[in-house]
Protein backbone atom coordinates (compact mmCIF):
# COMPACT_ATOMS: atom_id res chain seq x y z
CA UNK A 1 0.00 0.00 0.00
CA UNK A 2 1.71 3.18 -1.20
CA UNK A 3 -0.01 6.39 -0.18
CA UNK A 4 -0.80 8.69 -3.10
CA UNK A 5 1.09 11.94 -2.92
CA UNK A 6 1.50 15.00 -5.08
CA UNK A 7 4.53 17.06 -6.03
CA UNK A 8 3.52 20.69 -5.51
CA UNK A 9 6.79 22.47 -6.30
CA UNK A 10 10.35 21.76 -7.37
CA UNK A 11 13.59 23.56 -8.12
CA UNK A 12 17.01 22.98 -9.64
CA UNK A 13 20.17 24.97 -9.05
CA UNK A 14 23.18 24.10 -11.17
CA UNK A 15 25.83 25.88 -13.27
CA UNK A 16 24.74 29.35 -12.09
CA UNK A 17 21.22 28.61 -13.34
CA UNK A 18 18.05 28.35 -11.32
CA UNK A 19 14.81 26.70 -12.32
CA UNK A 20 11.69 26.89 -10.13
CA UNK A 21 8.60 24.90 -11.13
CA UNK A 22 10.04 24.62 -14.63
CA UNK A 23 10.69 28.33 -15.07
CA UNK A 24 14.15 29.81 -15.32
CA UNK A 25 14.83 32.48 -12.68
CA UNK A 26 17.04 35.38 -13.69
CA UNK A 27 19.76 36.27 -11.26
CA UNK A 28 22.20 39.14 -11.31
CA UNK A 29 25.42 37.26 -11.16
CA UNK A 30 28.62 38.18 -12.87
CA UNK A 31 30.77 36.06 -10.62
CA UNK A 32 32.09 32.60 -11.32
CA UNK A 33 32.71 32.16 -7.61
CA UNK A 34 30.23 29.75 -6.07
CA UNK A 35 30.04 31.52 -2.68
CA UNK A 36 29.41 34.85 -4.41
CA UNK A 37 26.66 33.22 -6.48
CA UNK A 38 24.98 31.93 -3.33
CA UNK A 39 25.21 35.31 -1.60
CA UNK A 40 23.78 37.08 -4.69
CA UNK A 41 20.89 34.66 -4.73
CA UNK A 42 20.30 35.16 -1.01
CA UNK A 43 20.16 38.92 -1.45
CA UNK A 44 17.88 38.67 -4.46
CA UNK A 45 15.48 36.52 -2.42
CA UNK A 46 15.40 39.11 0.42
CA UNK A 47 15.69 36.38 3.02
CA UNK A 48 16.90 38.48 5.95
CA UNK A 49 18.37 35.48 7.78
CA UNK A 50 21.84 36.52 9.01
CA UNK A 51 22.58 32.94 10.08
CA UNK A 52 22.93 32.21 6.35
CA UNK A 53 26.42 33.75 6.39
CA UNK A 54 27.60 31.35 9.07
CA UNK A 55 26.70 28.29 7.03
CA UNK A 56 29.04 26.34 4.79
CA UNK A 57 28.31 26.35 1.06
CA UNK A 58 26.46 23.02 1.20
CA UNK A 59 24.01 24.39 3.76
CA UNK A 60 23.76 27.73 1.96
CA UNK A 61 22.77 25.90 -1.22
CA UNK A 62 20.38 23.63 0.66
CA UNK A 63 18.66 26.41 2.56
CA UNK A 64 18.15 28.45 -0.66
CA UNK A 65 16.79 25.46 -2.60
CA UNK A 66 14.44 24.60 0.28
CA UNK A 67 13.31 28.22 0.41
CA UNK A 68 12.38 28.09 -3.27
CA UNK A 69 10.23 24.98 -3.00
CA UNK A 70 8.61 26.19 0.23
CA UNK A 71 7.91 29.71 -1.09
CA UNK A 72 6.48 28.30 -4.30
CA UNK A 73 4.37 25.43 -2.98
CA UNK A 74 1.21 27.57 -2.79
CA UNK A 75 0.46 26.41 0.74
CA UNK A 76 -1.08 28.67 3.31
CA UNK A 77 0.71 29.08 6.63
CA UNK A 78 -1.99 26.90 8.09
CA UNK A 79 -0.42 23.45 8.31
CA UNK A 80 1.14 21.33 11.01
CA UNK A 81 4.87 21.88 10.96
CA UNK A 82 5.51 18.83 13.11
CA UNK A 83 4.24 16.74 10.18
CA UNK A 84 6.67 18.03 7.56
CA UNK A 85 9.47 15.54 6.89
CA UNK A 86 12.81 16.21 5.18
CA UNK A 87 14.56 13.52 3.11
CA UNK A 88 17.74 14.54 1.35
CA UNK A 89 20.71 12.84 -0.27
CA UNK A 90 24.03 13.49 -1.93
CA UNK A 91 27.28 11.97 -3.09
CA UNK A 92 30.03 13.99 -1.43
CA UNK A 93 28.66 14.12 2.10
CA UNK A 94 30.21 17.23 3.69
CA UNK A 95 33.58 16.92 1.88
CA UNK A 96 34.20 20.64 1.40
CA UNK A 97 33.96 21.42 5.09
CA UNK A 98 35.72 18.17 6.03
CA UNK A 99 38.73 19.42 4.05
CA UNK A 100 38.60 22.79 5.78
CA UNK A 101 38.49 21.13 9.19
CA UNK A 102 41.43 18.83 8.36
CA UNK A 103 43.52 21.84 7.33
CA UNK A 104 43.12 23.37 10.80
CA UNK A 105 44.26 20.25 12.68
CA UNK A 106 47.16 19.23 10.47
CA UNK A 107 49.81 21.44 11.95
CA UNK A 108 50.60 21.42 15.64
CA UNK A 109 52.14 24.89 15.45
CA UNK A 110 49.18 26.44 13.71
CA UNK A 111 46.45 24.53 15.49
CA UNK A 112 43.19 26.48 15.60
CA UNK A 113 40.33 24.15 14.68
CA UNK A 114 37.11 26.10 14.44
CA UNK A 115 33.96 24.87 16.20
CA UNK A 116 31.89 26.79 13.64
CA UNK A 117 33.57 24.81 10.85
CA UNK A 118 33.36 21.45 12.62
CA UNK A 119 29.59 21.62 13.13
CA UNK A 120 29.18 21.57 9.35
CA UNK A 121 31.20 18.37 8.88
CA UNK A 122 28.00 16.31 8.76
CA UNK A 123 25.75 16.33 5.69
CA UNK A 124 22.51 16.13 7.69
CA UNK A 125 23.22 19.56 9.20
CA UNK A 126 21.48 20.87 6.04
CA UNK A 127 18.34 19.15 7.27
CA UNK A 128 18.86 20.69 10.69
CA UNK A 129 19.23 24.17 9.20
CA UNK A 130 16.06 23.80 7.09
CA UNK A 131 14.20 22.41 10.11
CA UNK A 132 15.33 25.28 12.33
CA UNK A 133 14.45 28.00 9.81
CA UNK A 134 10.99 26.62 9.07
CA UNK A 135 10.27 24.98 12.46
CA UNK A 136 9.71 21.62 10.74
CA UNK A 137 9.93 18.92 13.42
CA UNK A 138 8.81 15.95 11.30
CA UNK A 139 11.03 12.97 10.59
CA UNK A 140 14.18 13.17 8.53
CA UNK A 141 16.86 11.11 6.88
CA UNK A 142 19.99 11.80 4.86
CA UNK A 143 21.23 9.25 2.32
CA UNK A 144 24.61 9.04 0.63
CA UNK A 145 24.49 7.54 -2.85
CA UNK A 146 26.65 7.68 -5.95
CA UNK A 147 24.13 9.61 -8.01
CA UNK A 148 20.65 10.97 -7.32
CA UNK A 149 18.45 7.92 -6.87
CA UNK A 150 14.76 8.78 -7.48
CA UNK A 151 13.68 5.29 -6.42
CA UNK A 152 15.42 5.48 -3.04
CA UNK A 153 13.93 8.84 -2.05
CA UNK A 154 10.53 8.07 -3.59
CA UNK A 155 10.23 4.78 -1.71
CA UNK A 156 11.27 6.26 1.60
CA UNK A 157 8.99 9.31 1.30
CA UNK A 158 6.05 7.11 0.24
CA UNK A 159 6.54 4.87 3.25
CA UNK A 160 6.80 7.85 5.59
CA UNK A 161 3.61 9.35 4.18
CA UNK A 162 1.69 6.20 5.18
CA UNK A 163 2.02 7.32 8.77
CA UNK A 164 -0.28 9.86 10.32
CA UNK A 165 2.90 11.55 11.59
CA UNK A 166 3.76 12.85 8.12
CA UNK A 167 1.64 14.92 5.70
CA UNK A 168 4.31 16.79 3.74
CA UNK A 169 7.96 16.35 2.82
CA UNK A 170 10.85 18.31 1.40
CA UNK A 171 12.92 15.87 -0.67
CA UNK A 172 15.89 15.91 -2.99
CA UNK A 173 19.59 16.07 -3.63
CA UNK A 174 22.14 18.70 -2.53
CA UNK A 175 25.76 18.14 -3.50
CA UNK A 176 28.83 20.37 -3.31
CA UNK A 177 32.40 19.42 -4.18
CA UNK A 178 34.65 22.38 -4.93
CA UNK A 179 33.04 24.52 -7.61
CA UNK A 180 30.87 21.59 -8.70
CA UNK A 181 27.44 21.88 -7.15
CA UNK A 182 23.90 20.76 -7.74
CA UNK A 183 20.64 21.07 -5.88
CA UNK A 184 17.37 19.43 -6.84
CA UNK A 185 14.53 19.74 -4.39
CA UNK A 186 10.81 19.11 -4.47
CA UNK A 187 7.94 19.47 -2.05
CA UNK A 188 5.32 16.75 -1.73
CA UNK A 189 2.08 16.47 0.18
CA UNK A 190 -0.52 13.79 0.68
CA UNK A 191 -3.00 14.04 -2.17
CA UNK A 192 -6.29 15.66 -1.17
CA UNK A 193 -4.85 16.23 2.25
CA UNK A 194 -6.15 19.76 2.38
CA UNK A 195 -8.93 19.01 -0.11
CA UNK A 196 -7.74 21.93 -2.25
CA UNK A 197 -5.28 21.36 -5.07
CA UNK A 198 -2.03 23.14 -4.30
CA UNK A 199 0.74 24.19 -6.60
CA UNK A 200 1.75 21.98 -9.49
CA UNK A 201 -0.28 18.89 -8.61
CA UNK A 202 2.00 16.34 -10.29
CA UNK A 203 1.90 12.67 -9.31
CA UNK A 204 4.58 11.58 -6.83
CA UNK A 205 6.19 8.72 -8.74
CA UNK A 206 9.83 7.78 -9.24
CA UNK A 207 9.35 8.35 -13.00
CA UNK A 208 8.01 11.86 -12.47
CA UNK A 209 10.83 12.71 -10.05
CA UNK A 210 13.36 11.44 -12.56
CA UNK A 211 11.77 13.49 -15.34
CA UNK A 212 11.86 16.68 -13.26
CA UNK A 213 15.45 16.00 -12.27
CA UNK A 214 16.71 15.52 -15.82
Amino acid sequence: MIMEATIVSYCKIKNNTIWVNGEKINIDNNSVDFTAFLVNLYRQMNLNYPKFFKMDNLCKLGILAAEMVIQNNSKSENFEKDKVAIFLSNNSSSIETDRNHIKTIENKNDYFPSPAVFVYTLPNIIIGEIAIKHKFTGENAFFVSETFDPNLIHTYASIALQSSHTTDAVCGWVNVDGNEYEAFMYYIEKTNFNKVGHGLNMPHTAEMINELYN
Binding site: V39, P50, F53, K54, F112, P113, S114, P115, A116, V119
Partner: protein
Protein backbone atom coordinates in the same frame (compact mmCIF):
# COMPACT_ATOMS: atom_id res chain seq x y z
CA UNK B 1 41.44 50.63 25.09
CA UNK B 2 39.58 52.22 22.16
CA UNK B 3 42.00 50.68 19.70
CA UNK B 4 41.45 47.28 21.25
CA UNK B 5 37.66 47.70 21.03
CA UNK B 6 37.93 48.59 17.33
CA UNK B 7 40.27 45.67 16.68
CA UNK B 8 37.88 43.31 18.46
CA UNK B 9 34.93 44.58 16.44
CA UNK B 10 36.72 43.74 13.20
CA UNK B 11 37.90 40.36 14.50
CA UNK B 12 34.42 39.40 15.71
CA UNK B 13 32.76 40.35 12.44
CA UNK B 14 35.30 38.29 10.53
CA UNK B 15 35.51 35.27 12.83
CA UNK B 16 31.73 34.98 13.33
CA UNK B 17 30.81 35.72 9.71
CA UNK B 18 28.57 38.63 10.65
CA UNK B 19 28.55 39.77 7.03
CA UNK B 20 25.61 42.14 7.33
CA UNK B 21 27.11 44.01 10.27
CA UNK B 22 29.38 47.08 10.28
CA UNK B 23 31.78 47.85 13.16
CA UNK B 24 29.79 50.94 14.14
CA UNK B 25 26.67 48.76 14.58
CA UNK B 26 28.24 47.11 17.64
CA UNK B 27 27.71 48.98 20.91
CA UNK B 28 30.63 48.08 23.22
CA UNK B 29 28.32 47.93 26.24
CA UNK B 30 25.40 46.05 24.67
CA UNK B 31 25.06 42.32 25.38
CA UNK B 32 26.81 40.18 22.74
CA UNK B 33 24.48 37.22 23.32
CA UNK B 34 20.73 36.93 23.64
CA UNK B 35 18.99 39.86 21.98
CA UNK B 36 22.23 41.69 21.24
CA UNK B 37 23.91 40.36 18.09
CA UNK B 38 21.91 37.13 18.13
CA UNK B 39 24.98 35.02 18.81
CA UNK B 40 24.67 31.39 19.96
CA UNK B 41 26.73 28.75 21.76
CA UNK B 42 28.87 27.97 18.71
CA UNK B 43 29.72 31.67 18.45
CA UNK B 44 30.80 31.60 22.10
CA UNK B 45 33.18 28.72 21.30
CA UNK B 46 34.40 30.62 18.27
CA UNK B 47 35.15 33.65 20.49
CA UNK B 48 37.23 31.36 22.71
CA UNK B 49 39.26 30.41 19.61
CA UNK B 50 39.53 34.11 18.70
CA UNK B 51 41.00 34.97 22.11
CA UNK B 52 43.58 32.22 21.77
CA UNK B 53 44.46 32.84 18.14
CA UNK B 54 44.69 36.64 18.20
CA UNK B 55 45.39 37.44 21.85
CA UNK B 56 47.17 34.36 23.16
CA UNK B 57 44.68 33.84 25.98
CA UNK B 58 43.32 30.36 26.66
CA UNK B 59 39.98 29.82 28.40
CA UNK B 60 39.89 26.33 29.90
CA UNK B 61 36.39 26.13 31.26
CA UNK B 62 33.54 27.07 28.88
CA UNK B 63 31.53 28.10 31.93
CA UNK B 64 33.83 31.15 32.36
CA UNK B 65 32.95 32.32 28.87
CA UNK B 66 29.57 33.74 29.82
CA UNK B 67 30.94 36.54 31.99
CA UNK B 68 33.91 37.29 29.72
CA UNK B 69 31.75 37.59 26.62
CA UNK B 70 28.94 39.58 28.26
CA UNK B 71 29.82 42.59 26.11
CA UNK B 72 32.61 43.87 23.92
CA UNK B 73 33.76 46.00 26.85
CA UNK B 74 33.98 43.03 29.23
CA UNK B 75 35.90 41.11 26.59
CA UNK B 76 38.41 43.97 26.22
CA UNK B 77 38.74 44.28 30.01
CA UNK B 78 39.49 40.55 30.24
CA UNK B 79 42.14 40.75 27.51
CA UNK B 80 43.92 43.66 29.21
CA UNK B 81 43.82 41.95 32.61
CA UNK B 82 45.16 38.64 31.27
CA UNK B 83 47.65 39.72 28.64
CA UNK B 84 51.05 38.30 29.38
Amino acid sequence: MNDLIETLKAQIIEQLNLAELKPEDIDPNAPLFGDGLGLDSIDALELIVLLEKHHGIKIQDPKDAKAIFASLQSMADYIIANKK
